[in-house]
């Protein structure tokens, strides 16, 4: 175990005017039981604290347990040891109150429903009247105007991901969990979507956890970046990102930005050294 | 211990049958039916056990006809499919025939077969064979159609002739499908045999059923229904086991 792995979020100062704790993961282990009684430890003693209104990005090598952390926060899985609390309550309570927005890695759109109905689904499931103006706004936001009536199989992979982001935002959730939402996008669209997400977040200040493989993306969007190590997944280090917002091309060209990118990238590489 | 447990759970999951027997009994008792109208389940079961010797010849006959038809019909279907696969011209003509045969209700087929072949064993066997023929034909053909081009190309490169492609690749792809067809048709074969026997009244469970009905012997008639159900379920379970065996062998 590297010395930095024991760093807790507490040691790094939270960004700006901190308020309530939105997400708190305490010494969470996750052990999956595979076939024939074999066990796989996906997470080991993960600590993570996210304050209300904060944007946290999680990066780490493939298979290190990033999606598993999000599933714990969404109440889809329980930790084997340790605790997970969302706004001081059990995670699934946020879901039952329809205050949670999740964009899954495999986007999970309903194949029989149009783009519009997919985005409006959270309203219907919550038993609320669909806010047409907001749905239209979201469609415009994710750049799918003109595709309202299209069905998922008529869309490209990137377009489907954007629908799934719009759906996650539909009910203006109190907590937004994004699992590699821009994975299928080309670099140009990806940066544009990054900028849009930064803008929405700036407007609505939704507490957000974003899982990504893209270090630049993490630094453009997040207040803090959590670096995880693989097998079992641990929090290796947490970096504050203090660049002023909005972070435009000037920010990404600055030497400080590049320095941070290099540092985080080398931390990701160093994981291989740990594993060996 | 886990084995005993799983057997235990298997029995627990038969609750719908227990429920059915109890409601059958309650229905007879509450309506005050005499045994000439509707017998109680226990008397029917008792008749099956005490008079089992009377049932045995009929069971064996129906079972033989069903299995014979199943094996014969499946083989003919398999051979027919291979022939069609072999010749491109044949396959064009076969499609409409296949569509029509698939839609003929057995109840319309059996009387015609009975008239053409004459009352007796050949008519029963021909009925069960015809029922099993068609699914076997279709499933074999779709199995042969699923041989990937790459596999065929490999064999062509190796200089194999069509017979070798068939025996090496075709069997691999067609056999699992053929077993699916056997499982699907197994209960239909029993049904077809019984319908033919019932109509012609010669021998077998269908004939026993028809006789018991004309003598108003309700316990025997319901007993035959019970025995036929058990036979059919056993044939089905047997076919299912065989399908799994073949599948685990080939994959």
């Amino acid at each position: 175990m590297s010395s930095t792995a024991t760093l807790t979020p507490m040691e790094t100062k939270p960004a700006e005017h901190a308020t309530r704790t939105a997400v708190s993961v305490n010494r969470a282990d996750k052990i999956f039981t595979l076939s024939r009684g074999k066990k796989l430890q996906a997470l080991a003693e993960v600590d993570l604290e996210v304050r209300e209104g904060e944007f946290v990005a999680i990066i780490g090598p493939s298979g290190c347990g990033k999606s598993t952390v999000l599933r714990l926060a969404a109440g889809l899985d329980r930790p084997t040891n340790g605790t997970v609390e969302i706004f001081g309550a059990a995670p699934h309570e946020l879901a039952t109150q329809h205050r949670l927005g999740v964009a899954f890695q495999e986007h999970a759109l309903l194949p029989w429903a149009s783009v519009r109905s997919n985005i409006a689904l959270p309203y219907k499931v919550a038993g609320r009247k669909v806010d047409d103006a907001r749905v239209d706004g979201l469609i415009e936001l994710v750049g799918l105007k003109g595709f309202e009536k299209a069905r998922p199989k008529q869309l490209s992979g990137g377009m489907r991901q954007r629908v799934s982001i719009a759906r996650a935002l539909a009910l203006s959730p109190d907590l937004l969990l994004l699992d590699e939402p821009f994975g299928a996008l080309d670099a140009v669209t990806r940066r544009r979507m990054n900028a849009e997400l930064a803008r929405i977040w700036g407007e609505e200040k939704i507490t957000t956890i974003l899982v990504t493989h893209d270090v630049d993306e993490a630094l453009i969007l997040a207040d803090r970046v959590v670096v995880m190590t693989g097998r079992p997944g641990r929090v290796r280090t947490i970096k504050n990102v203090d660049f002023p917002r909005p972070r435009d091309a000037a920010t990404t060209r600055s030497p400080e930005f590049h320095e941070l990118v290099d540092e985080l990238t080398s931390l990701l590489d160093a994981n291989d050294g740990d594993a060996a | 211990m886990t084995r005993a447990r799983s057997i235990g759970m298997g029995i627990v999951h038969l609750w719908p049958i227990a429920l059915l027997l109890l409601s059958w009994d309650a229905w007879v008792v509450l309506n005050g039916y005499t045994s000439t109208v509707a017998p109680r389940p226990w008397f029917v079961i008792a008749d099956v056990f005490t008079g089992f010797a009377d049932y045995v010849p009929s069971i064996l006959y129906t079972l033989g006809m069903a299995l014979g038809g199943l094996v014969g019909g499946t083989l003919i279907g398999f051979v027919g499919a291979v022939l069609v696969w072999w010749s491109a011209a044949l396959s064009g003509v076969v499609t409409p025939a296949a569509l029509i045969i698939r839609s003929v209700p057995i109840t319309a087929l059996i009387p015609i077969i009975a008239r053409i072949v004459g009352y007796g064993d050949p008519a029963v066997l021909a009925s069960t064979m015809l029922i099993c023929f068609f699914p076997a034909f279709v499933f074999t053909l779709s199995g042969l159609a699923a041989i990937p081009e790459a596999g065929r190309d490999l064999f062509t490169v190796l200089g194999a002739n069509k017979l070798q492609v068939l025996s090496r690749l075709g069997v691999l792809y067609a056999l699992p499908n053929l077993m699916v067809s056997v499982r699907i048709t197994a209960p239909s074969a029993v049904l077809a045999a019984m319908l033919a026997e019932f109509l012609m009244g010669t021998s077998g469970l269908g004939a026993l059923f028809s006789q018991a009905r004309s003598y108003m012997d309700m316990e025997r008639s319901w007993g035959t229904a019970l025995v036929a159900t058990v036979v059919s379920v056993l044939v089905f379970v047997g076919a299912q086991l065989m399908e799994r065996r073949v599948e685990s062998r080939l994959t």
């Binding site: 889809l76 959270p122 | 999951h13 038969l14 025939a97 015609i112 008239r115 019984m194 059923f209 379920v233």
Partner: protein
Amino acid sequence: MNTPTRTSVKVAYSLAGGALLILAAQLIGQFGLAGRAWPPVMDVVSYVTTPAGASLLWRNTLVTFSSAAQGFLLGAVIAVLGAALALVVPIIRPGMDRFAAILHAVPTIALAPLLITTVGREDAPAVIAALSVGFVMFVTMASGFANTSSAHQDLFTVIGANRTRRLARLELPRAVPAFFDGLTLSAPAAILGATIGEWFGAPMGLGLVIVSAMQNYQMALLWAAAMAATIMSLLAYLVFIQLQRVAMRRFT
């Protein structure tokens, strides 16, 4: 090698094949290759065109159709409700699955005595049709419901769906292709079930006509009735296979 020409070649082949089959049936009948029980096709057709023959067939076809249709509706509704119940109350699921498998294997003729005492001779055809349809529908719907996608289930969990909304907005629409698969499979089963029911003393119906024509050696009538039953079954199959294709396109 574009698709339109390939389909038209297929259709041409099928038409040629159909014509060939009819010709073969005619020749077998004409030369008496299969004995007196195989009449030439033209004899059957000319029987159907006589007013008496046409009206006899038509009336009995309607009776069988209505029993089959009633049974089809009843069986499909009950089976879908049963499968949905097994989905919502998982504890009864293994029992119901096994029960359906056993019922599926029951030779329908074995149910006849039960049905004649319970529902009577006249309704037995519809009920036997309903039972045949019900088994097929239950099995296909249960497997349609079991074929869930965990990503969609997770989605409905995180947006806080309650049991009814999950059923209505995810599980039911997802099972629509399976539903039409089931209908396609059970359309012939409904007609078979209805005709079996008619063997047990129903006052009218194609099943009855077929048996009495067989016993009285009325070959033209026997063949005509068998053809009527076949055509009905074929049409039902063709209609439902089209619906199934539409459903497949719409729901996946």
